[in-house]
C-alpha cells in the first residue's frame, strides 16, 4: 500500500543520457505499466525504483519516505525478473523462503508462510523440485511467490511474460491482473508489448528515448494520444500516419487515422487498390495502395468480399481523425 513519487529522475551511463528527467506519481494500489520500444529506458527506470541502479539526479519517494539512497531491501519493494532469477541450487520451497530465512524468521513460521503462498499459486506439488525441473509458467509463479512472501508495498515486474509462449502469456496476464485485484498493492509493470499494457494497466506511461510521451488510462491513450509517437504505438494494427505534403493539405504536420476508423465502400475520399487481405475470422485487415497517399490499412468485418487486385473507396470516419 504505497504511493510512488518520482521527481526529476535522471540517469546517465557515462556520457549517454538514458533517462532524461522523469516526473511521475503512481497512486496507491495502482497497476502502472511502463511501455515503450526496446532500449527506451524502461528497465533502467524500474531498476532505479528498485534501487539496483542509483539515479544521477532527482528524488524518489515510496510511501511518503525518501528512498533515493536506500538499499533495495529497505524500500519495501520486490521485483520479478524477466529471467525469473530463481536460485538454481535451491528447491521451490527454499526459493520462496529465502528472503524470510535471511530475515531470521523462525523455521516453522517460514514453513507456514511458504505453504500458504504455494497454495494460492497452485505450487503445492512442486515445492521440493529444483527450478530446472519446472516449466516456464511454473517458474514464473515461483518468482511471483518469492515476491509475495516479502509482503511488499510495491511490486515491480520487468517484462515477466516475454519468455512464455502466446497462450501461456495470455493466461499469466489474467493471473497477474487477478493477483493485483486480490492484493490491491501498487504494481509497476514494464513491457514493450502494447497489448499487455492495454489489457492490464490502470495507468499507462509511454516512454520514448528516456522521456515520458504521455501518461493516462488505456482508453485515454487510445482515444486521445498526445503525440504521433503514442498514436502509432498504442492500438493494433498500428494507426495510419502521414507526414509531409499530404498532411499539410489536411492542415497539420502529421495526419493519423486508425485502421478501425477507415470505412470502405463503393465511394469515398480515397480510391485504392487492394494489395493484401488478412482474415482473422471476425475481422479482416485490408492493406490498400492509395494514389497520392501510399499504403493504407483498414479493418473491416470478416465476411468482406474484397480480393487482392480489386478496387475500393476508403474514407475516414468523421471525428476520428488525428491532426498534429
Amino acid at each position: 500500500m504505497a504511493e510512488v513519487v518520482l521527481k526529476g529522475i535522471r540517469k546517465s551511463f557515462g556520457a549517454v543520457d538514458v533517462i532524461k528527467g522523469i516526473d511521475l506519481t503512481i497512486r496507491d494500489g495502482e497497476f502502472c505499466v511502463f511501455v515503450g520500444p526496446s532500449g527506451c529506458g524502461k528497465s533502467t527506470l524500474l531498476r532505479i525504483i528498485a534501487g539496483l541502479e542509483t539515479a544521477t539526479g532527482g528524488t524518489l519517494h515510496i510511501d511518503g519516505r525518501e528512498v533515493s539512497k536506500a538499499e533495495p531491501s529497505e524500500r519495501g519493494i520486490t521485483m520479478v525478473f524477466q529471467s525469473y532469477a530463481l536460485y538454481p541450487h535451491l528447491t521451490v520451497r527454499q526459493n520462496i523462503g529465502f528472503g524470510l530465512s535471511l530475515a531470521k524468521v523462525p523455521k516453522d513460521e517460514i514453513a507456514r508462510i511458504v505453504t500458504a503462498t504455494a497454495a494460492t499459486l497452485q505450487l503445492e506439488k512442486l515445492l521440493d523440485r529444483k527450478p530446472k525441473e519446472l516449466s516456464g509458467g511454473q517458474r514464473q509463479r515461483v518468482a511471483i511467490g518469492r515476491s509475495i512472501v516479502r509482503n511488499p508495498k510495491v511490486f515491480l515486474f520487468d517484462e515477466p511474460l516475454s519468455n512464455l509462449d502466446a497462450s501461456l502469456r495470455s493466461q499469466m496476464r489474467i493471473e497477474i491482473t487477478e493477483l493485483h485485484a486480490k492484493l490491491a498493492t501498487t504494481m509497476i509493470y514494464v513491457t514493450h508489448d502494447q497489448v499487455e499494457a492495454m489489457t492490464m494497466a490502470d495507468k499507462i506511461v509511454v516512454l520514448n528515448g528516456g522521456t515520458i510521451e504521455q501518461v493516462g488510462s488505456p482508453m485515454e491513450l487510445y482515444n486521445a494520444p498526445a503525440t504521433p509517437f503514442v498514436a502509432g504505438f498504442i492500438g493494433s494494427p498500428k494507426m495510419n500516419l502521414y507526414e509531409g505534403k499530404l498532411a499539410q493539405e489536411m492542415g497539420c504536420q502529421t495526419y493519423g487515422i486508425r485502421p478501425e476508423h477507415v470505412l470502405l465502400g463503393a465511394e469515398g475520399r480515397w480510391q485504392g487498390r487492394v494489395k493484401h487481405v488478412e482474415h482473422l475470422g471476425a475481422d479482416a485487415i485490408v492493406h490498400l495502395d492509395v494514389e497520392g497517399l501510399g499504403s493504407l490499412v483498414a479493418r473491416t468485418t470478416g465476411d468482406t468480399g474484397l480480393r487482392p487486385g480489386g478496387d475500393v473507396w476508403a474514407s475516414p470516419q468523421p471525428g476520428k481523425e488525428f491532426r498534429y
Partner: protein, 274 residues
C-alpha cells in the same frame, strides 16, 4: 558396435593397462619382497609376501617419522586448499562483478602470478623476515601463493556465466554482499570447487620440491620427503622404499576415487541454466 570399434576398444584397454597398471603392480610386488630379492629391481613374482613386516618397518622408521609426515602433509594440504578455494572464489567474484579502475591492475597481478616463475632464495629471505620460514603455516602460504592465480582465473570465468540477476534478486531479498556470496554464488561454484579440490590437493600432497626448499627440519617432514629414509649413497632398501611409495600414494587415490564422479559431472554440467 562394429568389429573395428570392438578391436580399437580392446587395444585401448590393453594400452591403458600397460601404461597405468603395470607400474603400480611393479611397486606393489617390490613392496612385499624381502630385501635381497627387491635389490634386483626386476618384475618377478615375490618369493615371500612380507607385506605386514615391511609396513611396520616403514611406519616405525626413525621414530614413526611417516606418521608425523602424514600429519604435516594433511595440515598443509587441507589448509592450503581451503584458502585457495575461499580466496580464489572471493577474488574471482569481486573481480568479475565489480567494475572499477583497479580491475585491470588486479587482473595484471593475477596474470603475473601465473607467468612469473617463483624464485626460491628471495622467497626464503622474505619468509625469514616474516618469521614464517620453517613453519607449517609458511608452507601453507607458499602453496596458496603458487596456486591462487590459477584458481582466481578459473572461478572468475565460471562466475561470468552466472547471471547477474541472481545477485540482484538476492539483494532485493535482503541479502548483504557476504550473504550473496556465501548463500547464492558459492554453492553454484561447486563444479569448479570440486575440480580445484582434486587437482590442488593431489598436487600439494605430492609436492616434493617446495617442502624441500621451504620446510627444512626433521619435525617439519612431509610425506614425499620420507622417501629419503630408505635411500642413501651406498645402499637403498628398495622393498621399504616401494612400500613407502605405496603408502604415500594411497591418500590422493582416495581423494580421486571419492570425487571422481563429481569431477565428471562438473565438467559436463557447464554453466547454470535455469
Amino acid at each position: 558396435m562394429t568389429r573395428r570399434q570392438y578391436w580399437t576398444g580392446i587395444i585401448a584397454t590393453v594400452l591403458a593397462l600397460v601404461i597405468f597398471v603395470v607400474p603400480f603392480v611393479f611397486i606393489a610386488f617390490t613392496a612385499v619382497k624381502d630385501k635381497a630379492q627387491a635389490s634386483h629391481l626386476d618384475f618377478t613374482w615375490p618369493l615371500q609376501f612380507l607385506f605386514w613386516q615391511n609396513l611396520v618397518d616403514v611406519v616405525s622408521t626413525r621414530n614413526y617419522m611417516l606418521l608425523l609426515a602424514y600429519f604435516n602433509s594433511s595440515i598443509i594440504t587441507v589448509g592450503a586448499v581451503a584458502m585457495l578455494i575461499l580466496f580464489g572464489a572471493m577474488v574471482g567474484y569481486v573481480l568479475q562483478r565489480r567494475q572499477s579502475r583497479w580491475n585491470k591492475v588486479i587482473f595484471g597481478c593475477v596474470l603475473a602470478g601465473l607467468i612469473i616463475p617463483p624464485a626460491v632464495v628471495p622467497t626464503i629471505w622474505v619468509m625469514q623476515g616474516l618469521g614464517l620460514f620453517k613453519t607449517i603455516w609458511g608452507m601453507v602460504f607458499i602453496q596458496v601463493a603458487y596456486g591462487l592465480a590459477f584458481s582466481v582465473l578459473l572461478y572468475r570465468s565460471f562466475i561470468a556465466t552466472i547471471p547477474r540477476d541472481l545477485d540482484e534478486a538476492a539483494r532485493i531479498d535482503g541479502a548483504r554482499p557476504l550473504q550473496i556470496f556465501l548463500r547464492v554464488i558459492l554453492p553454484l561454484l561447486k563444479p569448479v570447487t570440486v575440480t580445484l579440490i582434486v587437482v590442488q590437493s593431489i598436487a600439494i600432497f605430492n609436492d616434493f620440491t617446495n617442502p624441500l626448499y621451504y620446510l627444512p627440519g626433521k619435525e617439519n617432514v612431509t610425506v614425499q620427503l620420507t622417501l629419503f629414509n630408505f635411500q642413501s649413497q651406498f645402499s637403498t632398501q628398495f622393498n621399504l622404499l616401494f612400500m613407502n611409495i605405496l603408502l604415500v600414494t594411497i591418500p590422493p587415490l582416495i581423494v580421486f576415487i571419492f570425487f571422481n564422479r563429481q569431477i565428471v559431472a562438473g565438467m559436463t554440467a557447464g554453466a547454470v541454466k535455469g
